[in-house]
Symmetry: C2
Subunit: 471 residues, 2 copies
């Protein structure tokens, strides 16, 4: 019995679109009403989550779409998943919602077992966690851990702060507020708070008008596809990019304390890096005592055919800090070395230190993924989608360019941004909700319960849209 | 019938402490276990939320404390509140937890009515909201709105970004990444992310080793108490501090785009500002076109005897942006002027744009506060506590200094940090959980369902601890 029929016996067998435009008239009215109190200009349609099920999302006009965007890559199992509904109705959840604890001061008696449940799906080598609220929050918390570690190492772990450090930090001046950098990569996306916006390098719209830190930007490799054909050229590209990283670390005007990188640059265009490149970075960070932060906010939780995408690289030793959010619903960073616990209390701290309600959902997601082998399942379905798209790429070579991906974490490029935007709109009219990334890419981010039968519907819709375009 | 007996007919009539040390042995073991996977060094005790009720929190050793700290000022109504339990069990909540939407792209059909429910308790003059996840997040989102507004005003709201702006922001350089400041105040606390840590000025422990922005710090008035006796001196202090603010705005090496201030500086020591001071700031911000951000993260939601503490000041016009979190459980900023909606979409944006599960709790809290007149109730109970403490201050003038407060948002100072820490520990052994702020202050942050009968228990415990100390 297939995974989606186990979870969703009543899942629709096909999408239905009744309106001639999207958003339809009911959505349009709802968007206008919402716009009076909230910025609703970016709303694609107003959803009816009561009627959404499994891999299908419904809107208030009665349209039902096969969903390959899944709340910007944030739904692991599908809509109205019975195991998650059970978790949401549990007494632990009611308490987490009503008695939201300050987890650093007054954690509940369930907290340790909840964390242990979550840690069962931590990346290889990681056995501790610090919790946050979103991907950007997770990354900034990781930066804090990295900066504190970096300065403690210089100062001596058990050495007291000097009066000069204490005084100067209150003036936002060095040495207490040191000039230290986080290195990131061209086209990276790590969030939209101020430190995370400083390492985000994908689009001006995320950054313009925001004060930022003067931190270095390296190049993420740009490969030629298919990878098997261009092995030599791509290795040269890796070496070129590694040399840039090393040079920036050695020559930046102040110390580079940390490096942050996505295993696959997601918002920036689904750009893949090789194992060779990532192991090279691991070596450079070790040699230069730079903290290596792997941002698994979008790539984590199974979609690449590994639970955590950097498992594809067999990094040794494991990265220092690995951040997570999105499909895990909860957020934070994994780590393994106690040196990333600050020397004094209340340095890495805040009122809530995460949200136990979201951690309960994360625990339930983790349990379901293991129980149903959903990562392996996703690897197989990914191959099926990839092969289907490869055939369509032969048929429509201008519209499906640079096909790339691991498992269902697949992307391809159209000729222009306008082409891509039209393609996504036409897909919606054909009953498929899908997302874009970079300027002219399409990214697939289905749930882990997506199956070949759903892939067939998606591939038929792509074929339909592209053949209509050519007529 | 009293409010707590309506909500909590089975609330304990008094605290019980069975252990001779806190944390007790069972908590100690749980803290050690938790410490293997999470930084548990700051845990006071491990709570049993199943057994906590109303204004009483239980721990795993069977101790039951009257709680005047309430999860670092974050519990509005008390533990296991039946109205919140009902909200937590609602079908809307189940959906919000299981189908967490990307609210900017695919909001659910309930979202607009949920926001409208929340907006019913917005501060005077505010009728729009942008949602976030924590107090620090809310403040950084407000900074983004302020910076975008500030640059748009210079550029022209509908003027396109220049290629130079687009290019330079990707390098983290001006003019795309401009040098702009947020002015804050000595002893302020606004959060621990990077931009918020830059405006936080209460303690080195929050700031040390973190890179920060070179932003100006003004002085928050330091009044002489009682206020009625020192009117003239305190007005002079207001004028002195206002002049510093105006001077910093006019002379800082780059433009001050925004000012952020707490109506009562909370973490920094419960320092109060007068209406005169706040209206002066409102005038200065208007005259200099600086965005005025009022941080109501800790002061908001009723504890000062107004729903929002800055209502005490009758500010005219209303502040530009008002941030909230903590007792409201949901977070974000209120605003009223469309000029704070960025000229282009996806500038103020992120994956989740808040958490509808927490917004549902906020909506239920708002409804209960209005239904039971809990703000007025809190004002009365606050007077009762204040008068009781004033009597104890006469009895123990060295241990209850500078008594100050509005409603139940009350604080006083002990002679030293050591004295204060011992006092709080002894209070716990006497069955009262209470918190500190600044170096030597005690802050009361009970729920809005705290009553005179609870105050009597608290006051007796204070008397008991202080009389034992003097023996």
């Amino acid at each position: 019995m297939s995974i989606s029929s186990q979870y969703y016996p009543d899942e629709p067998s096909a999408p239905t679109v009744n309106t001639t435009v999207i958003p339809g008239p009911v959505s349009q009215k709802a968007i206008a009403d919402l716009g009076k109190v909230f910025d609703s200009r970016t709303v694609y349609f107003v959803a009816d989550y009561e009627k959404s099920l499994g891999n299908y999302i419904s809107d208030v006009d009665g349209n039902v779409y096969l969903d390959l965007y899944a709340q910007i890559a944030s739904i692991a199992l599908g809509y109205n998943n019975p195991a998650l509904i059970k978790a949401a109705q549990s007494p632990e959840m009611i308490r987490a919602l009503v008695e939201r604890p300050a987890l650093g001061n007054f954690p509940g008696k369930d907290f340790e077992s909840l964390l242990s449940k979550i840690l069962k799906v931590a990346p290889p080598g990681q056995d501790k966690v610090w919790s946050g609220l979103s991907g950007a929050d997770a990354n900034e918390l990781a930066f804090k851990a990295a900066f504190m570690y970096y300065q403690q190492k210089k100062r001596g772990y058990s050495t007291e702060f000097t009066p000069e450090e204490e005084y100067s930090c209150m003036q936002n001046q060095s040495p207490g507020s040191p000039q230290l950098a986080v290195l990131s990569f061209e086209r990276a996306f790590h969030g939209r708070l101020f430190a995370t916006a400083s390492v985000t390098r994908s689009k001006p719209i995320h950054k313009i008008d925001l004060p930022s830190f003067n931190w270095p930007k390296a190049e993420y490799p740009s490969y030629k596809y298919p990878l098997s054909k261009y092995e030599k050229e791509n290795k040269q590209e890796d070496d070129r990019c590694l040399a840039i990283v090393e040079n920036l670390i050695k020559t930046w005007e102040f110390p580079v304390a940390a490096l942050i990188i996505e295993p696959v640059q997601s918002e920036g265009g689904d750009n893949h890096g090789s194992s060779y490149f990532f192991q090279g970075l691991r070596d450079i960070t070790l040699q230069n005592d730079v903290v290596m932060i792997v941002d698994e906010v979008q790539t984590g939780v199974g979609a690449t055919g590994k639970l955590w995408a950097h498992e594809h690289f067999n990094l040794s030793p494991a990265p220092d800090l690995v951040t997570f959010s999105k499909k895990f619903q909860s957020a934070g960073y994994w780590f393994h070395d106690d040196k990333f616990i600050p020397n004094k209390t209340y340095r890495q701290f805040n009122t809530w230190c995460g949200d136990p309600a979201r951690m309960i959902i994360a625990g339930a997601i983790a349990e379901e993924i293991v129980k149903h082998d959903l990562v392996e399942h996703t690897a197989k379905v990914g191959d099926y989608i990839y092969n289907g798209l490869a055939k369509l790429a032969d048929k429509y070579p201008k519209d499906i360019q640079n096909l790339r991906g691991k498992a269902t974490f697949i992307a391809f490029d159209l000729e222009s941004q306008n082409d891509r935007d039209n393609f996504l709109y036409q897909l919606k009219l054909n009953g498929v909700n899908c997302g874009g990334c970079a300027e002219n890419s399409v990214r697939l981010r289905p749930t882990l319960t997506f199956e070949n039968k759903h892939a067939d519907i998606f591939l038929a819709a792509v074929d339909n849209v592209l053949s209509a375009k050519r007529q």
